[in-house]
């Protein structure tokens, strides 16, 4: 049975563009926005603005900030160098156990970071599975070094890049690669000149997410690399310590970290992070 369409003669019909939004959706969305905004407003409200400058310019804060940026950029670079080929393999090469490999390579994203740190320790530590040989042959031990921070950050951040780039590889129109091949391009040349430019938006998005994750990394870092100012004490670690000793300093350091992350997300917002209009191909 179909209901006859009735055209109401009393109600005034609005233009489609000005149709009212569904109230429950709108209300819940506003609650969600408030939920994200309130903690930051709380920080701003509690911030000791008069001391801000002296905290900012204190050697401890500057060291931690410099180390954080240094390590997070390094781990983003490593995640890109290894993550792009990994994403390509997962997206383009059908091999047995691909689903398992994908789960394994993204596990550290959902793992508690402390667990990641412990696991890294038993793999790369002085007595670890691989680390013992590294130490025996070279005398070098990764834990409690700046390199250890970079390894810990890369371990938890790379999955973000892999997931974004794999999706980009999957969505790509592979016929462009075929066109390149018919023009005489080898597989490697095609990858560099055709495939990589085509996945650039996904790559940038993935790199930004990985970088943000690395910048905020705490649990794996403190477990695997410890908390030595100037060597392994990144911003999140410094904030954690400061919060015990001098909450004012913790607030200012937090605000710096928030400002940097927010600035990057806003700068890249619609272009690469899925918002705005679709990319022209």
């Amino acid at each position: 049975m179909t209901r006859p369409a009735v055209v109401s003669t009393t109600a005034r019909h609005r233009r489609v563009g000005s149709e009212r939004l569904p109230a429950p959706l709108l209300a819940l969305a506003i609650v969600a926005i408030a939920f994200f905004a309130l903690p930051f407003i709380g920080l701003l409200w509690k911030a000791p603005w008069s001391e801000a400058w002296s905290i900012l310019t204190s050697p401890g804060a500057r060291t931690a900030l410099r180390l954080s940026i240094y390590c997070s950029l390094w781990s983003t670079a490593l995640a890109t160098v290894f993550g792009v080929p990994l994403a390509w393999l997962l997206a383009r090469v059908a091999f047995p156990g691909r689903g398992l490999v994908r789960a394994l390579c993204t596990l550290s994203m959902v793992l508690p970071p402390v667990v990641a740190g412990v696991a890294l320790f038993y793999a790369l530590g002085r007595r670890g599975l691989v680390g013992q040989y590294l130490y025996r042959w070279t005398g070098y031990s990764l834990p409690f070094t700046t390199a250890g921070v970079i390894v810990a950050q890369t371990f938890v951040a790379m999955p973000f890049l892999v997931i974004a780039v794999e999706a980009a590889f999957r969505q790509q129109d592979t016929r462009y690669e075929e066109a390149a091949r018919t023009l005489g391009a080898s597989r490697w040349y095609t990858f560099r000149r055709v495939t990589l430019p085509a996945i650039r938006p996904g790559l940038v998005a993935g790199a930004v997410l990985a970088w943000a994750r690395a910048l905020g990394e705490f649990g794996a870092t403190i477990t695997f690399a410890g908390n030595f100012p100037g060597r392994t004490q990144t911003m999140p670690l410094a904030i954690y310590i400061a919060n015990e000793v001098d909450p004012d300093e913790a607030i200012i350091l937090s605000l710096i970290l928030i400002a940097i992350s927010f600035g990057v997300l806003v700068a890249l917002r619609d272009r690469f992070l899925g918002g705005g209009s679709p990319q022209p191909v």
């Binding site: 075929e178 066109a179 091949r181 018919t182 023009l183 005489g184 391009a185 430019p197 022209p280």
Partner: protein
């Protein structure tokens, strides 16, 4: 100096098995409905899909020969390809697109750009060198794609539905341009299309593909004079029957007999023009040698003519006038008698 190919390839339940040949300077069109295997054949020739059987040789050199374990990858084949949507690299300018193949082959950047520039001049787009594909019209994009394919100096040029991406308004002009540019290339040219107008305008010879097999080859005039495929018969809007000559009459697989002007023997095609099919509500008695009971499947009215599709021992399309339709008041499902004079039926060996 020719292309000789027997392409055998299975894709799921689809099986391609066709023989193709092209001589230098010749334009061959691979014509057929969707799903006939045109794209598969095209991909095999370009090296994007390896053969299961058969062999491709170009100027005597094997490109793909599974029997001898030979497969030349696409980037090493002297084959240029113009794809259906042209597939110009969106991040490169027109000039960089044309230079791409030359750069990929190791030519220095300045040399590649100089040659690409002269190719763009040749297709009349010298002043569009710096444009991105997005800023080009469909016809311009096609010419850039052609220049890009020809810049690598292939022996064989493949074009996949070169006009399908264009709207009807611009197609005619672009087709003329393409024809002009194709004549300047002295290698072999193979065109894949589902549009007989393109085949007629651009090709010297057509190969009709149907269900993965070659149904017919020849000039378009030869092919249409004696259709040997349902596809061509449908294009011409005529009825094509196939059967076995027995006792002078043509016997179809349904068992129905068709009497033609000439007695026939062996496997035979018969063409029955729709305008020669007369419809009656009761069984007619008279001179027509062929009278079959039929059922109306559908009625398609085109201004003053009406095409009535029939099923029965002899499936036919009848063309009658609108006045006749009104008088007979035919509807889908109605039972009628179809009559055709033997002299209206042309036959030729299958």
């Amino acid at each position: 100096m020719t292309l000789e190919a027997r392409l055998v390839r299975t894709l799921g339940r689809f099986e391609l098995d066709v023989e193709l040949e092209a001589k230098p300077g010749e334009v061959v069109a691979l014509l057929g409905p969707n799903g006939a295997g045109k794209s598969t054949a095209f991909r095999c020739l370009a090296g994007l899909l390896p053969l299961d059987g058969g062999r491709i040789t170009l100027d005597g050199a094997p490109l793909d020969d599974p029997g001898a374990d030979v497969f030349v990858p696409p980037d090493e084949r002297p084959v240029g390809v113009v794809f259906q949507d042209y597939l110009l690299f969106p991040n490169l300018t027109a000039l960089e697109n044309v230079a791409f193949g030359l750069r990929a082959r190791g030519l220095a950047r300045s040399e590649a750009r100089a040659r690409a520039g002269s190719w763009l001049e040749r297709v009349g787009l010298g002043d569009h060198a710096g444009h991105r594909p997005r800023a080009l019209s469909g016809g311009q994009a096609q010419r850039v794609a052609l220049a890009r394919a020809l810049a690598t100096e292939p022996r064989l040029l493949l074009l996949d539905e070169p006009l399908a991406a264009l709207d009807v308004g611009t197609r005619g002009g672009v087709r003329r341009d393409l024809r002009r540019h194709l004549t300047t290339f002295d290698g072999m040219r193979l065109l894949v299309t589902h549009d007989p107008v393109d085949a007629y305008a651009l090709a010297d010879r057509v190969v009709i593909l149907e269900a993965g097999r070659v149904a017919q080859t020849g000039t378009l005039a030869e092919v249409t004079a004696r259709p040997r495929s349902r596809y061509i018969a449908d294009l011409l809007g005529t009825n094509l029957l196939r059967g076995e000559g027995r006792g002078g009459a043509l016997v179809l697989v349904t068992g129905a007999g068709v009497v033609a002007a000439e007695p026939v023997t062996g496997p035979t095609f018969a063409v029955v023009p729709p305008s020669a099919v007369a419809l009656y509500l009761t069984q007619p008695v008279g001179s027509p040698r062929n009278v079959w009971p039929s059922r109306v499947v559908d009625v398609d009215q085109q201004t003053d003519r009406v095409r009535v599709r029939l099923e029965g021992p002899v499936p036919l399309v009848a063309e009658i006038t609108a006045a006749a339709l009104a008088e007979l008041a035919l509807q889908a499902g109605d039972r009628v008698w179809a009559a055709v004079k033997a002299t209206e039926i042309a036959t030729y060996p299958a």
